[in-house]
Chain length 692, copies 2
Amino acid sequence: MLSFSFSVIGITNIAARSHVTLINFVLIKGTEWVGKMTGHHCLACTPGQMSADGSWNIHYLPLKLQHPVPSDIAISRSQNPKDIEQLAHEIGILPEELDPYGRKKAKVSLNVLQRLKNVRDGKYVVVAGITPTPLGEGKSTTVLGLVQALGAKLRKNVFACVRQPSQGPTFGIKGGAAGGGYAQVIPMEEFNLHLTGDIHAITAANNLLAAAIDARMFHESTQKDDALFNRLCPANKQGIRPLSAVQKRRLVRMGLPNIEDANQLTPEQRVKFSRLNIDPNTITWNRVIDTNDRFLRGIEIGLGPSEKGHTRKTQFDIAVASEIMAILALTTSLADMRERVARIVIGSDTEGNPVTADDLGVTDALTVLMRDTVRPNLMQSLEGTPVFVHAGPFANIAHGQSSILADRVALKLVGEDGYVITEAGFGADIGMEKFFDIKCRYSGLKPSAAVIVATVRALKMHGGGPPVIAGAPLKHEYLDENLELVAGGCDSNLRKQIENANKFGIPVLVCVNKFATDTGKELDMVIDKSLSHGAAKAVVSSHWSYGSDGAVQLAQALVDITSGPKPDFRFLYPLDLSLKEKIATIAREIYGADGIELSDEAQDKIERYTRQGFGKLPICMAKTHLSLSHDPTKKGAPTGFTLPIRDVRASVGAGFIYPLVGEMTTMPGLSTRPCFFDITIDPETEQIDGLF
Amino acid sequence: MLSFSFSVIGITNIAARSHVTLINFVLIKGTEWVGKMTGHHCLACTPGQMSADGSWNIHYLPLKLQHPVPSDIAISRSQNPKDIEQLAHEIGILPEELDPYGRKKAKVSLNVLQRLKNVRDGKYVVVAGITPTPLGEGKSTTVLGLVQALGAKLRKNVFACVRQPSQGPTFGIKGGAAGGGYAQVIPMEEFNLHLTGDIHAITAANNLLAAAIDARMFHESTQKDDALFNRLCPANKQGIRPLSAVQKRRLVRMGLPNIEDANQLTPEQRVKFSRLNIDPNTITWNRVIDTNDRFLRGIEIGLGPSEKGHTRKTQFDIAVASEIMAILALTTSLADMRERVARIVIGSDTEGNPVTADDLGVTDALTVLMRDTVRPNLMQSLEGTPVFVHAGPFANIAHGQSSILADRVALKLVGEDGYVITEAGFGADIGMEKFFDIKCRYSGLKPSAAVIVATVRALKMHGGGPPVIAGAPLKHEYLDENLELVAGGCDSNLRKQIENANKFGIPVLVCVNKFATDTGKELDMVIDKSLSHGAAKAVVSSHWSYGSDGAVQLAQALVDITSGPKPDFRFLYPLDLSLKEKIATIAREIYGADGIELSDEAQDKIERYTRQGFGKLPICMAKTHLSLSHDPTKKGAPTGFTLPIRDVRASVGAGFIYPLVGEMTTMPGLSTRPCFFDITIDPETEQIDGLF
């Protein structure tokens, strides 16, 4: 037996910028050097304990700015990210609340919410944009630039909460959603590939439900009543037919007796219990895959001989289009997630009643697959500030926001004087409206401000400039000064988006995301017009080129407009309006339409969903993001149009009704030369190139 | 600026069994308590340094044996696994070689191989089984029992290397491959769900290739020669058409000039380069999904309007049936993986030439998706010994073995006097033969011994007992003593499997996996007959009931038979035999067939693969595991039969040809009442029940 007496004889290495340190302990036993121990520790505070004024003691990563600005991947690789355990420690996450996934990303336990329940939430800010060109106007980049400046320059506690990108487009079209230039989430390849597996878990859960639907229909159609019941409720050695928890819930929902032994059911009750009688024509639950696979947009299944001719036409969607992704984004706890999963409606039975995931018996199995996903994923910005990357639902058929849970945990971690910056997908007419009316409604969180990102390029387009087409060279209007076009864009689209935000009672900060071709007069005009159209502040920002240095004014403006009392946040519509009235309200108030026109199918669906009891759900519009109207060619702020509603669908588990305005592709494709032709990996260094 | 002076004033907690300790340091600055720091450290050794005799200083987890033996999940949950970083430290893995995924599993860097390149490999042992009943005879459980006894009782350095199970069956049929009783991998739910995402990465890579195939065929068929070339080799602003690395490789393979600018190609060369001309009828690359979804066994794709009528019939397989899984299992480095991925043959062109993943341009993209998978996943046994869980290819259409890389890393970590125990799927006629002829051939590793697991139950079946059917009660022959049936099984199937192992020059240890109904006379008979049929040793083991205590004799027997000089390991066949001769050799020597009979299709394929240059690959038989013959009803050791070869397929990337003997299902289904009905999760405690 060895004794445990030892001494620490020295610290061999201390890497410190603030008073948070990385330490190598050297241990001796007697006089003999026996080992060392590495850790990081703040010598001035205990884990989770902040400085007296509540501010974090955080080590910011200095930028080595270069011009011209290198490629995103080159910038990402030039920075050495902190060990994720160090970052977690710096922002007051306890070791037992952190599950590292490798060294640069980690999942954070929801126990933080309980531990910090008495801490007041920080300020909650959404970044949205004017109606973009097909090239995008830099919302994600602005989120990152803003948090880098709030943190590294203004020394605020600040969190960015962003979406996890789909892996499909990563190998199809160049791009990524990690920001860009000197405002990014790092390491970029970890951000874009697999992350901690949340999307893979969603795929698994989604497809288990899909497999259960078709298998159940098959077994119901190939088995007589007795055989079906005997298999669903097998007798044990004592002759008892014990019901599982999910089976008992179905009994109760059907108005059948809540019993332990299925033998007690009458023959009629057995049939009613055993047969879901799913009407195959009503099934809205598709399979998903996180790959751009256009040949799965329309498929026929069940062609194998073992399925005995029970074929069905269906489709695959990209994984992030799964309702389960929307559930992850909107859920408030694992218990809430389980309830939402149970409520998922996959279609109707032959009598028109909704059939749910709970009827199919898969609720808990899906929740088991999703167990780890509820914990937000911690990463860091290029300057070492914390970022949650959590959930990434589609911005058209879903609400396009990162998770409520990440925002909640972040709001507690930053504390009352801190900031949580999140992003609303697409233009403000879609993303911001859904952020307020869906996400904030389910979370109960009240935002403090909205940042609306504009570019001179997009404003010129709205002012009447020629079409901007991805891949084609920009026309001269976009490269030369043109104050008339800028004015036109400010007075139409930008004005409308600012007014829209103000309808929710929220102050607007306009961020002009600066490009090299912008002239001083153009930029000044956007600032002036923003203010005259109702923005609380408007500033030019150049975070893409300069990181936090370029966004200091933006950050300061945000601090200024959020320093007063909380704004009087209000929803656009109450839930007890009819579905049709809710849709019409959004169309009139936000899009500027005269009204809506429902197709017969849309009218039928509205009636069905209302009859099925889903009329109180909020609305999630599936509309193009390239115009305030339904017509992507109409720029500026169109008026005098009627919004056509082609169809209406329900995501009952996620908790919204989504009207379809035009066709929505839920499965991207691969072009003739996808970007995977340029992706390379060095097997020795594991260095990846060509991803961006 | 704060100073860094501090003292360690105490150790608040030490959890120690050996001299490896978990320590909480308490830190003070001046006189003030400022924090604490938790770590684990061995006070007698530095990280990665073993004791003078090379043995690990490992903390074994004591068992609290109960009888009757509780459920697998109850046993798993009753044990508190070590933090994976502690285990890694105990077995000499450096902190920088470890990527934790949560607290109980981690990936281990392949840098271990380089660091320990001068350490001699440990002893390498494969666990196989006699032809099993449909209930399974406990191979995985024996692997775990054996390592627990070698470690916790005999104090050997020992690693178990096992397969990662598919998630599909986890939600379909009760069961799991984590062992059972008091011989398991823990935590069982982490083992069975997602793990570190390797199978999800395989799915992503497999399906990106599948999407690329159909998209390429579509673009080739809808574009004229010029348009296709222009898109595949777009001109930049200078008019140059730069070729990517993967495009240059295709040029070289086609015998075209190795150029930088595609403008240099003649019109004919442009067409030849641009058109893969894949013959859709030859495509063998299926999509995969890790869900039991029988309705995807036969599908038609391309039915969406955007695919313009380019439909095709195909199928989904379960993810672990992907050739990429077999590649992961057989690869020896990331560089080797990239080469194998490049070589994947997805079908032929209209002239009969093989079309590869490299031709499609996806080699590096797939390798990027697979980057993290090459690192083995570290977990632990119920008694705290290390386990690698890495790769899990099908045992019929693939070779059914965990990874070469896990074995290699483990063999270095255990050192010359240590043991690495791995498992061969299915019966020894399939699993062990493939282990020797495929896995050991690619790894270059030489096994020291084979353990063949037998049960009295399975021996009675082979001796003429009535059929054993899953779900049905066992007949009395299996519950009462019946020496005649036992003798029959020993003299037929067990004898043949022992003889087969000896053909490879490998000594056999027969492990009789003891059941409560076995009688002393029955067990004695198996021991006696094993020895007379050529086993080096034979022992009864009861690890399921007693963990390491029950497997001490088994472990000691293994030590005994491996203590002499290395056996003279040899392959069954040389690679330069023709494909037909190789197949016939396995059929005759291992299965006991008189010969083989090739269908016309099989004959055609053999000729095609030989012509295409794949005739030197080893053979991976796809045969039922329920008989030594092709007929699952023929038990014992059948003779006087001809093995019919229905078809022959190639996994060129993985590196084997697989003849199909009968139908092989590559997509399981869901029954009327899948086990997900019984799976529950408590959302507060996150406790999962019903998985096993």
